[in-house]
């Protein structure tokens, strides 16, 4: 289980290969990569603020919960903070399991909790505005699935 919180960019493919190579006899690897998307049409920059200390703690708790709930060999969570630009990766999770169902469900679970329970806040700078991204009711509702 590995949780990384960093400002620097990361190489998703290299991370996936390293994660996969570290497994033993796991038949299923699922990864999710989140990319900065220009929802507003005109996004210059996305700033991600976080709560150092609590962030690592929250991500480790979410990853540990996933390891308990599903039959997993390993979990990886990487999340960036600071200034990001459209089409840059924000974060990724990866799960390894003997079975595809566990790998898929655990990755889906990690994303739902990471979205609404890890202390990150996004601010979108467009040419016209500079606003904090509002949380979505559908993201809160998604937690009820688990």
């Amino acid at each position: 289980m590995r949780v990384i919180v960093q400002e620097d960019a990361f190489d998703g493919g290299a991370e996936l290969n390293a994660f996969t190579a570290a497994q033993s006899n796991m038949g299923a690897i699922v990864s999710f990569t989140g990319i900065v998307r220009d929802v507003a049409a005109g996004l210059k920059q996305m700033d991600i603020e976080h709560y150092p200390g609590m962030t690592e703690r929250a991500l480790e708790q979410i990853a540990a919960d996933a390891m308990t709930r599903w039959d997993l060999g390993d979990v990886l969570v990487i999340h960036r903070y600071g200034p990001l630009h459209p089409d840059e990766p924000i974060m990724m999770v990866a799960t390894a399991s003997k079975h595809r169902k566990d790998a898929f469900e655990a990755a889906d679970f990690l994303m739902d909790f990471l979205k609404s329970r890890a202390p990150f806040w996004k601010k979108e700078q467009t040419f016209a505005s500079n606003d904090w991204v509002a949380s979505k009711q559908e993201d809160e509702d998604a937690l009820k699935r688990w």
Partner: protein, 81 residues
Amino acid sequence: MDVLYFAWVRERIGLPKETVETKAATVIELVEELRAREERYALAFSDLSALRVAVDQDLTDFDAPINGAREVAFFPPMTGG
């Protein structure tokens, strides 16, 4: 006790962190003390349903006890991922 503010709560109050001397027993009592200080605090804490709180880096509720806590943080709902 350290009190931390993030995102628009930090912007409205105008600082990321301050040390507060308080006898408040719960988060909501601390919020009442902060609200009474200045307009910018009253504004930041005007709608508690738009806020989340963590005590010693664990998410909790506004009626949670804060006796012996080292830090209390206020922020909007998270938007990571």
